[in-house]
Amino acid sequence: VPAASIGAAPQFRTDFERTTVVSTASTNGARDHARAQAGTVATTQPTVPATALTDPPDGVDAADVVWDETIGAGGYATRRVPQGARVRLVDVDGDTCAGLLLHRGDAPAERLNVADTVKLQWQAYPGPGYLLLSDMGRVLATVVDDTCGCHDMFCATSNQADNARRYGDGTAHGPTPSGRDRLVVALAKHGLTERDVAPNVNLFSGVVIEGDGTVSLRHRSYAGAHLVLRAEMPLIVTVADVPHRLDPRPAYTAGRVRITAWRGPPAGADDNARTATPEAVRAFENTDEETRLAECAR
């Protein structure tokens, strides 16, 4: 194969005669019909290659982008990202709930632990500098930017029973699927199972906890609100775009979520997130031990 042709855009995208009426009665016709569909643009889909995105985040070179995908109501996305990657989640329409789950990419039995996350940081509400901790005392990700400031560490995502009650149907194949079922399918793409569906974080649909323990939904998000994570270890990032389970509205309401990730370095030695608290110092020390092992193996 001549080197010049490697990476050339597939010719059929531009050359195929779209106006031709094709019959699918024959294999050739069916093939032509199938090929004619390429190039369609959907409102929710990945950008492939990710580097082809036309609006990289400020200061980010498109060449560094490793994931760009928009999901809509009932959708999910899941992808491995390398240590140091930034992962930006955008509330595109200003009215959504992004169920986020993190697993360690190179050892997925280690995963987000929301109880440890709130307890070890003595803080129930995420914001800039907040760490998402694993069940092994290590930092999976740092919240490096958050323009929404209202999220939920306590309610996790919906299940079939919730949605059957609220919307009349909770089946995974129906119009109002549950977040749990989305996560189960997403994780199965990595060989994981329902056992691996740990309690997740909800982004852009927050809760507050009153003194008597009452949990109330608070919505403060807006179109374009975003949160940026920095992967402090290799991660499997999984997002389910479903209504918050406490959302009282009868309509299944979950706007689009755009996920964009790009390469970058993990927290440096003097990074604020690393030095902010004694707990953060030790959680990063634990994380560094694993990073050093990975470096030894290389």
Partner: protein, 231 residues
């Protein structure tokens, strides 16, 4: 160490926790099918049949008991803290709170709570999280996750099966600014909680061995487990 399901045995410590199921005060006395003192720092596991009650007695006071449960028919269905919180609309449990599974089914019901404000947001201590909270010197101390792994192993349950648990007799307030933490307990000798199984469930408990925070009054002590069924 205490192990898996064992035949009914006499409790060996104290006389607190007399079985007197509040919800059935007028009914015939329930039958005690299991009665066991769990030593300080130990795991405990037991299978409850639907309809059976488990009473957990804090024999000496201020003893946190971390609690997980799994559906016998398919242990992938298990106690879920977020499902319980969302269903109750509250992070604290109380008499009448239904403990939900991860698939949204009622699993256990709190039928009695003489302590008040047990929670389900505090998770379980682990060797690893202890190092973050208190320092690397705590890495070899006893911890609840070790107990969960030991207690779950006979049922084929492992690390991937551990999720956010109930914290009986533990006090975890949340301040308006989100500050949250384990503070001095409000339990006392003889206080108890009692749950009724709505399904056949495997219970896995850690009688919390933590010595670095006030959840056990800095001194882990035994608790008593009494399983009854209606006569």
């Amino acid at each position: 160490m205490t192990g898996g399901p064992s035949p009914a045995s006499a409790a060996t410590e104290g006389d607190v926790g007399q079985v007197d199921i509040a919800a059935d005060a007028t009914a015939r006395a329930p039958v005690v099918v299991h009665d066991q003192v769990v030593p300080a720092r130990a795991p405990w596991t037991h299978q409850l049949l639907a309809g059976e009650h488990l009473r957990i007695v804090d024999l000496h006071g201020n003893q946190a008991v971390d609690f997980l449960a799994y559906v016998v028919a398919d242990p992938v269905e298990r106690y879920s803290a977020p499902d319980t919180i969302a269903a109750a609309g509250n992070v604290f449990l109380t008499s009448g709170t239904v403990l939900m599974t991860n698939r949204g089914r009622p699993m256990l019901t709190v039928v009695d709570d003489t302590c008040g404000r047990p929670g389900t947001i505090g998770g379980a201590c682990s060797r690893e999280s202890n190092t973050v909270r208190y320092g690397h010197h705590t890495a070899h101390q006893h911890a609840c996750v070790e107990n969960f792994l030991l207690g779950g192993a006979p049922h084929g349950l492992g690390k991937r099966d551990l999720q956010s648990n109930v914290n009986w007799f533990m006090n975890v307030p949340v301040e308006p600014d989100g500050t949250l933490g384990i503070v001095d307990g409000i339990s006392a000798p003889g206080k108890h909680v009692e749950v009724r199984a709505e399904l056949d469930v495997i219970v896995v408990v850690s009688n919390c061995p933590q010595i670095n925070n006030p959840c056990n009054g800095f001194d882990p002590t035994p608790v008593r487990m009494i399983v009854t069924r209606p006569s």
